[in-house]
Structure formats: C-alpha cells, structure tokens
Symmetry: D3
Subunit: 238 residues, 6 copies
C-alpha cells in the first residue's frame, strides 16, 4: 500500500528557467532510462518476487524511484514555465505547449509516449538484478550528460543527487546479486552445454573503414576456442 507525503525527496530551486533544458529533463521523466521506467521495473519485479529479502529491496528502491519521478517532474516544470509565455519556445515544443499546456507529460525528450517496452520483468531474480544494474548504469550516464547542459546551481544540485542515487542503487543491486551465491554465468537452472560455450565465432573480419579484427580476453583466454569465418569454414558445432 502506498502513501504520499507532500514534500519532495530533494528540494528543487531553479535560478533561471530554460525551456530547452526543461524539455531535455523530460528524458528522465518519461524516457527509456527515466525514473518512471525504473519505478515500474523494480516495483513490478518486487510484486512478483518470492525471495522476501530481495522483494523488500525491490520495493524500497521502486518506491524511491517514484519519489525521484516527482523531483524530476518538479524540476522540469520549473524550466518549462517560460514556454507558456513565449511563442518561440512553444512552437519549438508544440506537444508540451498544446497538449500539456506547458506542464510535464509522460513523454521522453522528443515527445514519444512512455511504453512498458522500456521495462524488463523476467520473473527470474538473477536476470532482474542484472537488468536493474544495467538500468542504473544507463540512468547514471544520462544524468551525467544532462549536467553538461546547465549551469543553474539548483538544477545541478538536484541532478547530482539523482545521479548519485543511481550509483547507490547499482551498489545495492550488485550486492543483492552477489549474495545469491550464483556464479557469474549461472542463469536459471539448466546448465549450458560446454561444447557450445567454448567457441568464439569470428563473424566480423578484415580491416577497413569499418573497423579492425582485434583481440581481447574474450577471444584470447585459454577456455575460448576461436572459430574463424564460421560461415565459410564449416562449424565444429553442427
């Protein structure tokens, strides 16, 4: 059961409103790496989770993300305010101006409606936690990029808070995954056939204006067997 308290998780102050930056902020309101995506992903995973401790973790962070949604929404609203007075700004963002009356909506920064296709809910905890770690990493980098586009001190404070929380969540989900005592390649119950795990198929070859054939631990380690040009040379596996 949910309760809402009428305060923001982080106080938001905006010196000079910038509607173009406000539009950018909508990426973290209704975009693919945004706070609604995170809130929904963790909360619905939590509703499905049968491990009580990790269910608690998912609900804790899922709920926190709802509070983040409120913070980023408040920040975006402050930046979008001048759009109501300026024809120039409104014409640059007709969806916000015409449909939303200058307020925030569940869109990304280009006006695409939020969709649950952004969200991964697998019903398998070690998969969900990896998806969450990836989601937090993705959200962190978007906040980092947003910080390049504003000098406003109050906006920067709020964005830094939200950005840091992504790292806090990345840490928490990482610990939840580690403490499950599953190996890094152990997903689900069925073991993978070693014969098919060993080969590394060199499916992209040559050196040219689209890259170079290269090496790294993924194709040089002892437990890897490189198969060159498998489309042409025949495959050991078939």
């Amino acid at each position: 059961m949910y309760h809402h308290v009428k305060k923001l998780m982080f106080e938001v102050n905006v010196g000079e409103a910038d509607p173009r930056f406000g539009k950018m902020l909508l990426e973290q309101f209704g975009g693919e790496n945004g706070e609604l995506a995170a809130a929904m992903q963790y909360s619905v995973q939590g509703m499905n989770c049968e491990d009580p401790a990790r269910r608690d973790l998912l609900m804790d962070i899922g709920t926190e993300e709802l509070s983040h949604l409120e913070v980023i929404g408040a920040l975006a609203r402050m930046h979008l305010k001048p759009l109501r007075e300026s024809d120039e700004a409104a014409m640059a963002d007709p969806l916000i101006a015409l449909v939303g009356g200058g307020g925030v909506g569940l869109h990304n920064s280009q006006g695409a409606a939020w969709t649950a296709d952004y969200v991964s809910v697998s019903g398998q905890l070690e998969v969900d936690l990896r998806n969450n770690m990836a989601a937090e990493a993705g959200a962190k980098i978007v906040y980092e990029r947003l910080l390049k586009y504003t000098d406003d001190a109050g906006s920067r404070d709020a964005l830094k808070f939200l950005m840091a929380r992504e790292i806090a969540h990345l840490k928490a989900f990482g610990r939840a995954l580690e403490s499950m005592d599953k190996g890094p390649l152990e997903i689900g119950d069925l073991p993978a056939d070693e014969e098919y795990v060993t080969p590394y198929y060199n499916d992209s070859t040559g050196d040219g204006d689209a890259g170079q054939d290269s090496e790294g631990p993924w194709n040089t380690a002892d437990d890897v067997e490189v198969v060159e040009n498998p489309a042409f040379s025949g495959m050991a596996v078939s």
Copy 2:
C-alpha cells in the same frame, strides 16, 4: 559489409511439428529478449563504438545473432507449418494465418510488432556492456523456459545450442567489461557524491500480506547508512 551464406548456423530438424510451440518460438524471433533485439543492439552499439577491440567484439556477436535469428526463424516455420492446414490452429493464431500466410513475422509470441524500444544503445561502453550482459541473461532464461514445452529432439538440440551461446556471450561481454579496468560502480566520468551514495532509504516498511521488512548486504554493510521512513522522518540529504 555483410554477406549471407545459405546454410544455417545450426542444423534444424523437427520430428513432430507443433504450431502452438511454433508460436512460442516467435518470442525469440521478434520478442523483447529475442535474436533480432540482440542482433540490433550489439550491431548498432558496434557501429557507434570507438574502442576498436570492443567494436570488433560487438560486431562479431551482433553478426552471430543475425545467424541465430535465421535458425530460430527456420525452427518456428517448421513448427508453424500445420497451421496452414488446420483451421483450428489458424483460428488460434489469426495474425500468423491471415497476415503471414503461416510464415514467421517480426512479432513476439502474442503478435506484438518488434520495436526498437527493446534495444539499448547508450554510446557509453561500460553501460552498453552491462545492458548486453542483462540481455544475454534474459535470453538464456527464455530458452530455458522454452525447453519445458517441447520433447522434440531436434528442436531441443537447436534450443540448447542457442541457449548455450547466450552464456558464451555473457562470458565474453563480462570479460570485455572487466578488462576496461573501471570499478564496478564507475559509470562515465563524473564521480557520484558520496554523501548521497551512502544512505539506504527504507521506503517500503512493515510486515504484512505484501512482504516483510528484511535485511541483506545492501542495507547492513558498513558503508551503508539506513534512513528509516524517509518520507516521514526528514532526510539527511535535503
């Protein structure tokens, strides 16, 4: 530049075709964890990647996933074949029967059209690799689940091959991430403010029919400071 060779990466034989299972297989053809999603995610990441070695890795695996798409498509087609003769089967899957004429289309198992919203391309390698590890874990579990619904030996062989390759890719992406020498919480360039990383907000509390307040390394470790009921008790951070 791409080239296609007219053989399947894994030979596909189907004993008894089962159209309902064929429909299930479409989840891995045009679904959110399917082979097209993987092929597109890694290939487009690869096109954007400026680290030549990891670009090579992304193109190798992105290309392999196109070959997987072809395998799963061939397998699904074989299972869907009876649908062309059986009214019963066709009426259960009108989209396949009417629009596709019994063939495979870029849909998931429920007929939803594939969308690039399934794909994550961040332009940040340590984020892309985490997304890829999550994607491989997700695809592995779907193959594992698919194996529960067929006894057909040829189908099982192909699915086991595809499932094992997901683990091979998970391993490869994991090594590519490790060898970047970035810490597990290091995403992008901007450091996260430690003051905001430390707190763990206990935002979901109480014990009841929707779970129990619990402990784990994410809220008991020494470097974590639990804030109880932050909505009510005031927050250290604001």
Copy 3:
C-alpha cells in the same frame, strides 16, 4: 514523496486459481482502463496542478490507484500460478509464461505493452476532471464485466471493492468539477462563437440496415438548429 507499506489495501484470497481469469485481470493491471493508467493520469495531473485543493485530491486518488495496482497485481498473480505447472495454460499465454515466468507484467489482457497514450494530462483542470470522470466510468464497467467471469468468492470481494472505489472517485471528481463554478460548456477562457454552436449537422441520414435517422434532445431542443445534409445543401456557416 512516496512511501510503501507492506500490506495490501484489500486482502486478497483466491480459492481456486484460474489462469484464464488471471489473464483477464491483467486488463486492469496494464490495460487502457487499468489501475496503472489511473495512477499515472491523476498523479501527473496532480504534479501539474496549481489549484492546491484539487492538487491534493489528484494526489490522494493517484496514490490510492497505486495501491489498487498492487491489489490487482496480487490477485492476478494468484490466478496465474497454475500456468507455471500446466503446459496447456502456458501455451495459451506464451508471453506470460516465457517472458514473465508466470508473473504479472505491464501488459493488457492480450499482451500489449502499457503505453502513456492511454493517459490524458491536459494542464487544464476542467478538462482533466472530465477525463478522470470518464476514466472512472470506464474502469467501473470493466470491473463489472470481470465479475461475470468468476465465481471465486475472494476474487469477487476484491473486485467489488475496486469497482466501488471507481464510483467513489467518480463522485469525488464530479464534486471537484462542480465546485469550480464553471458552466457545463465552459472549457478554458475563450468563448465559443454562438453562431457555430447552434447548428446540428445531420451528417448521417436515411433509414437502413445501418441505422435510422432519429431524434433526441440534442437535435430537438429550442437552442438547436438542424442543418440537413450539409454536404449537399450548402451550409449556413461558411
């Protein structure tokens, strides 16, 4: 700021689980008239609302809908449980079985991903409240229809609770609209040109297997002027 308490707003008991009914219930979890749509519509309207009293109303009900989402999710999960054991049930719902592992996801009853296109946020209170009244009416009728498909006492109790709450919200939104002291045709600030409000264009005419030309207060009232066949007879207005 949000807080979650680990109890359900309404206790959910299921006697005999019915996976087909579980799938139906997803309509109210992730469907166009469902609880997520309601929660998002009212909460985002609330974030944008500058009338403090109605903002409070919107946040009260928006938050309650999040709690409803949790109730309907729990109910659907209980009904979907046998799907994990039954191949028959799983093959009828491959998306739930394969992608969700038998749990609930943000889809409607046919597997379409939830989209913010279901949600109306206009930034104009008298429009938002009308949209909310329509949304509550729509949700009420879906609950009523759901009740036709189950005899399970515990399920019926929960659905009746949720259904009644839609009426409670319809009442509340209606009062919030009335108390704004705007006329029933008063939307926004610009008056409508009476000359163009008066005509009723009889654009669909004749009697046949697609209906009959009919009368009602909308085309017989004194303040209405019927224009017959405007496409052919010329229009008073142009």
Copy 4:
C-alpha cells in the same frame, strides 16, 4: 455508407503561411485530441451502438469530424507549403520534409504516428458519452491554445469554427447522457457497495514543497467519511 463532396466544411484562407504553425496544426490532424481521434471514436462507437437514437447522434458527429479532419488538413497544408522551399524549415521538420514531401501525414505535432490507443470504445453508452464529453473538452482547449500562436485572420476563423463545434458536440453528448435517465454515479448494471463508496482515503498528506493537505466538497460532504493515512492507520474496509 459514406459519400464525399469536394468542398470543405469551412472555407480556409491563409494570408501568410507559417510552417512552424503548420506543424502545430498537425496536433489536431493526427494527435491524441485531434479530429481523426474524434472521428474514429464516435464512428466506431456508433457502429457498436444498439440504441438507435444515440447511434444516429454518434454517426452524425463522427461523420462531421471526418469533415473537420479535412479542414484542419487543408489548413495545415497551406501553412506547411513554404517548408518545401526553405531548407531551414525543412531541417526543423525532417519527417514532414523527407517522408511526406511537405504534405500532411497522420502524425501529431512531434511526428508520433496516430494510434488507436487514443480512442475509447467501451460498448457501454453511458461510458462512451462521458469519454466523448472529455474528448470534446480536450479538443476545445487545444484549439484555444492554437489560437494563441497565429494572427492570420483566415486561420483564426477556421480554428474558431472548429473550436465552437467542439462545444456544440459537448452540449449534444451531454444531452444524450442526461436523457438516458441514469444517475450521475450509475455506470452499468451492478450497484457499487456503499460501504466502499463512502470512505475518502487521505493518501497524500502533509504540507510542503509538493502541496498542502486541503479540503473541498469531495472530502467534506456529509456522505463522505475521511480515512486518514490509511496505509498506516489500518482500514475500515478490510
């Protein structure tokens, strides 16, 4: 059966074409509150309606909206015309320039493709009519907002005509609802349990930078019983 007559329902003249305003106009061509959405919603409701008089009403207005679609399309086309000659204008709207060749397409003002998710067809007349009243209110406010962004006399005339018609339709749908002789809270056939209609859950509390706890007829009327902080205090209903 439909017939088209080669004249516009309202004569459209544009003095000075403004491509940015033309793009805005697309919101009412292919956007969520636009004329296609209205035409489809009422016409499909009409096809399903078994009350002959209201079916006639729905078909009358549904057909009129098709004529409005044509008017707004003609107006948008006139404003978009310079985009074909101006690189600047074209680069600001690449979808219109490249895909549509400067013409109108079934997109909203930001280029999102029209979707039937904008449309509500419930098969329940008292629900459909409420949805239609909300839709008309929404369309009215968008026309009002559009009028802020043009001084062109011919454009303003057409928009005022279209705006006034929304009010005419709001009036008609309202009368159709009233004359059904159902109470304002009577939706469908099943009565709502009074015990669950009475409570008002104060789920959003406190006073802060995200609002104030407030009063209005929705929580002060005699037939309402306020439940404070239901997540914490226990609920009368469960």
Copy 5:
C-alpha cells in the same frame, strides 16, 4: 466534406455466428492490411495530391474504403455476438469482452491497436500509387485467406464482394500509374547513376539448408552485371 447514409454498401447476413471467425475478421477492420488502413492511406494521399484527376481517384476509393470498414465492422459484430453470452468465448478474447463489451474496436485480430505506421503517404504520386497497388494486393490475399475459415454463405458473399473490390482498385491504381507516362523505373526527378544501377550483388551465396544460389531474369539479363561475393572480392563501385 463527408456524408454518411444509413445503409451498408453490401448487405450482411450471418447464418451461424462464430466468435473465433469474428476475431479473425478484425484483421480487416483494424489490421495492417485492413479497411481503415486503406481508407486513411488513400484519403490522406488525396488531401495532399495536386493532380486533380488522381486526387479525385484517391478520394473516390478512400471514401469507398470507409464504407468497406463499415461492412466488415458489421460482419465482425454479428460473428462476435455469442461472445457476450459465452464465458468460454469471452475468456479466449479478453480484450474484446472486457474493454469493448463484445463489440468491434480498432484492433487487429490479436488485439494490437491500429497505428498510422501501417499507412504510407509520400507526397509523390508515382510512389503513392505503387504503395496503393501493394496495399490492394495485400488486402486481397487476406480476404482470400479469410474465406478458408468460414462456410457461412452470407459471410462468404460479403467477403467475396470486398475481395473483388480490392482487385477493382488494383486495376484503377495501375491505370492511374500507367497514364502518368513515367517509365517503370522513373521515380521522382533525379536520374539514378547507371553505373550503380547495373551491378547485381550476389550477397547471399552457397547451397545449403537455407537455400540455393539461383538465377532469374534479375541477375541474368543483359543489362545486369553480377558482382560475386562483393564483401570479399572488392567492389567495382567504390
């Protein structure tokens, strides 16, 4: 300007209603090859068309397709009727049963909402007409497939009428294209560089379980120069 007459373009009689067939019919109501797609594609092309004669053609057929939409809707409704009484049928189609109350909605046969992404409007007449010819061919084959799944005489009559009209339209669009006096390869104004038109790249090679390298007029005609394995052998063109 549009007008609606209350008769169907083709009289619809259904002997024995079959809800599963009714669901199939929705493919031609709100599906990718359906009547709404055709109506919208031709009508919006028509609104943009500056060649008066072909504009007339596009509006004639676009309007006819609206009448077809009405016919297929009426037919689908008749077949879906038993779904309102049968729990079995309703549970097989929860979206129709719960959201639509047993009526028709703007979905395809699997419940996916209609989208303007189905529609092509290019602003270039020789492209539009080709798209329309393809669309008519696609609609024809879906009607042909539908006819496999019903023995009901009245349904078959209506479907045969609709199927034949697709051929009539294919013929009309073909004549409109021919009479433009553009060569079969003449699209737009810019000539294509012959040097790049001549080569045929043999990008898919070998003989195996995924096909055979083959010949046809497309790679054997005198004006074609086959380039074998261009990815490997270097290309004449670069």
Copy 6:
C-alpha cells in the same frame, strides 16, 4: 548464416559535418522507408519463401540492405559528431545527445523508435514483390529529397549510390514479379467476381475547394462501369 567484413559497401567521406543533416539521415537508418526496414522486409520474406530462385533474390537484396544500413549509419555518425561539442546542437536533439551520447540509434528523424509495423511480410510472393517495389520507390524519393539538403560532395556521392541501388532493386523485383507469369490483377488463387470488379463507384463528387470530379482511364475505360453517388442512388451490387 551471416558474415560481416569490416569495410563499408561505399566509402564515406564528410567535408563539413552538419548535425541537422545528420538527424535527417536517421530517417534512412531507422525510419519507415529506411535501410533497416528494407533489410528486415526482404530477409524475413526470404526466410519464408519457398520458391528457391526468388528466395535467393530476396536474401541477396536483404543482405545488401544490411550493408546500406551500415553506410547510412556511418554517414549519419560523421554528421552528428559536432553535436557532442555544441550545446546548441545537442539541445535541438535531446534524444540523440542524452540517450545515444551523440551516436546513431534505431530511430527516425524525429526520434520515433523503429517498429516492425513498417514491414510487410505476406507469405505470398506476388504480394511481397509488389510491396518491395513500393518500398524501393519510397526509399528512392527520400534519398532524392535528402540530396536537396546537402552540398557536401562526399555525402552526396554516398547518397547517390544508395539512391541508385533502390532503382536497381526496383528493377530486380519488377523482373522477379513479371517472370512469375501472373497477370497484373492476379493475386493469390481465388478469382475475383467480375460483377464486382467492373463498377467504379463515384464516391467523391462535386467541384469545389476540395477538388473536382475528374476523368481518367480508371473510370473511362470500356471495361469499367461508373456508378454515380452510390450511397444515394442504390447499388447494382447489393
């Protein structure tokens, strides 16, 4: 089975990068007429095709389109590069800047995610080939339009190559269709009822600001019978 070679099918050089043009180019990367749509349409048609020669054709061209996707992606990336340094450019394209880090993503020029709804796969060769001819015509005109917006010699060379290849494919698909020896109106197996093919319904009539009633070979040829105003005058066919 697929193989990738690390060179571009056409060498790409950009003199002066223009981020606005880079955004335009995304239309052919992830847009409705773009290279991914072509690659997917032909390749999936090919996987379903049981005519070995035309299957080979479909796979040849489907594979070539993957190489085009790579070329257009490389070109777009070069043009988008300055966006990473310029706040102005980034704020004009927040999705590219924030989510993609300045790289290319599977979006169209307005940021809409690629969807398989752009793709037609019918399982009927004479339909697929017509769709492909229409798709090539559509892609050709978009390349022609793109050429209006750049003077950069290297960009123009690449675009001309890609544009010419669309004509080469149009030619090849046309020949594949002709050589099937089916008449121009022969789609599938069921003949169309001549009685219903003959009429031309004049459904859009009159002369006015929305067009004129006109003639052309589609309604004047000897084998056509014009039915005037069928909605009003009764129809021969029913």
